[in-house]
């Protein structure tokens, strides 16, 4: 079955992963900017990373006929250094014209600090000024509930972003309703330990929303599985969901959100 991986950190994955994803039916992959596992030392490190996301990585994916899209930001884990963060924010507009860039992301919060919140507000400002889609990371584990509330309030306080042009990712049972109630799209991340399992993800799909929701693997350098979406397709089949409903979730929904940027070329038909 065709599906879209709307959140994969492919710079951390092998070429074999690209090949396996295509074999499994992946029709496009979208890569938000994120933390490398260590703090970058300068704005030039980010410039190189943005070149990787907008030039090198799309070419690597193209070897397997896989369209590759990207999102740009400085991630919240590096937002405590506000001088560096402002420098990175200043170069983001240089890359917004690249043909595979879909918007600003994954912005958000990590430990819910004042500096992280300030840099989140600055990203919201850049997105509003440039009319960009927004992809938001919510914090991990015990910090997720508080961070999700702070993020939703920051977006509402700014007031310039259209709610359904913002997706709030990594939602779980205690945050999904908060996000959908504000009119945003919600993402559910399938991880082996933290975040959600395929069974829980489909529980939420059945209980909360079948529309403004996408699934992703958020595969990166940590414990994660780039094939978690096709494995969740099997979970849905075990429960008796129709093929059209399954494809609606793993292909149709991401297409509907991402097509709000005309650069995203895949269509529903």
């Amino acid at each position: 079955m065709r599906y879209i991986e709307p959140h994969g950190h492919m710079v951390s994955r092998t070429t074999d992963d690209y090949e396996a994803m295509v074999y499994a039916g992946c029709a496009a992959v979208c890569e938000p900017a994120f933390w490398a596992g260590f703090d970058r030392g300068s704005v030039e490190g980010f410039r190189d990373y943005f070149c990787q996301l907008t030039d090198y990585e799309p070419r690597r994916a193209a070897r397997f006929g896989l369209p590759h899209y990207s999102w740009l930001c400085i991630n919240p884990k590096e937002s405590e250094d506000m001088v560096l963060a402002e420098e990175v924010l200043s170069i983001i507009p240089d890359f917004l014209g690249c043909p595979n860039v879909l918007g600003i992301g994954e912005i958000g919060l990590n430990k819910n600090t004042r500096n992280e919140l300030r840099i989140l507000e600055r990203h919201i400002d850049v997105a509003a000024q440039h009319g960009q889609l927004v992809l938001v990371h919510t914090p991990h584990l015990e910090d997720k509930l508080k961070g999700t509330r702070l993020i939703l309030d920051a977006i509402r306080a700014d007031g310039r972003l259209v709610a359904d042009r913002v997706i709030i990712d990594h939602c779980e049972e205690h945050t999904l309703g908060l996000v959908l109630d504000r009119g945003h799209w919600a993402g559910i991340t399938l991880y082996p330990e933290s975040k959600t399992t395929p069974a829980r993800a489909i529980d939420m799909y059945e209980q909360y929303s079948r529309q403004n929701l996408w699934l992703n693997s958020a595969c990166d350098w940590g414990r994660s599985d780039p094939l978690s979406i096709p494995k969740t397709v099997l979970e849905m089949r075990r429960r008796g969901h129709r093929e059209s409903a399954i494809e609606g979730l793993v292909y149709g929904n991401p297409v509907r959100f991402l097509s709000q940027n005309p650069r995203f070329q895949l269509r529903l038909e």
Binding site: T113, L141, K146, L150, E172, H174, R200, R238
Partner: protein
């Protein structure tokens, strides 16, 4: 799905996880020394398992979450440990 179908699909998996939790608590009790706050928070969250509420997963997640609302002055580190230690601690602020 019917209740019978849910049992047929998920009982063995849930049984395995239930025994894993029991074994984890046994292992923790056998170990030497004093546990940090996570042991107590884990046991508190376990109370949701016997709740009649149909939002047990949400209840467990809320039980393990930081309930405060104000941003903190400085990050104590980059990672999260899975439970909130409470107010007045380094991580709980």
């Amino acid at each position: 799905m019917t209740k019978q179908q849910v049992l047929d699909l998920y009982f063995m998996d849930a049984r395995s996880k239930l025994i894993d939790i029991a074994a984890f608590l046994d292992r923790l009790d056998r170990a030497e020394g004093q546990p940090d706050f996570r042991a107590g928070e884990f046991r508190k969250a376990l109370e949701w398992m016997q709740s009649a509420d149909q939002e047990r997963a949400k209840g467990v997640l809320l039980s393990l979450s930081d309930p405060t609302t104000e941003p903190i002055a400085k990050a104590p580190g980059k990672g999260a440990c899975g439970a909130w230690p409470g107010p007045g601690t380094e991580e709980g602020r």
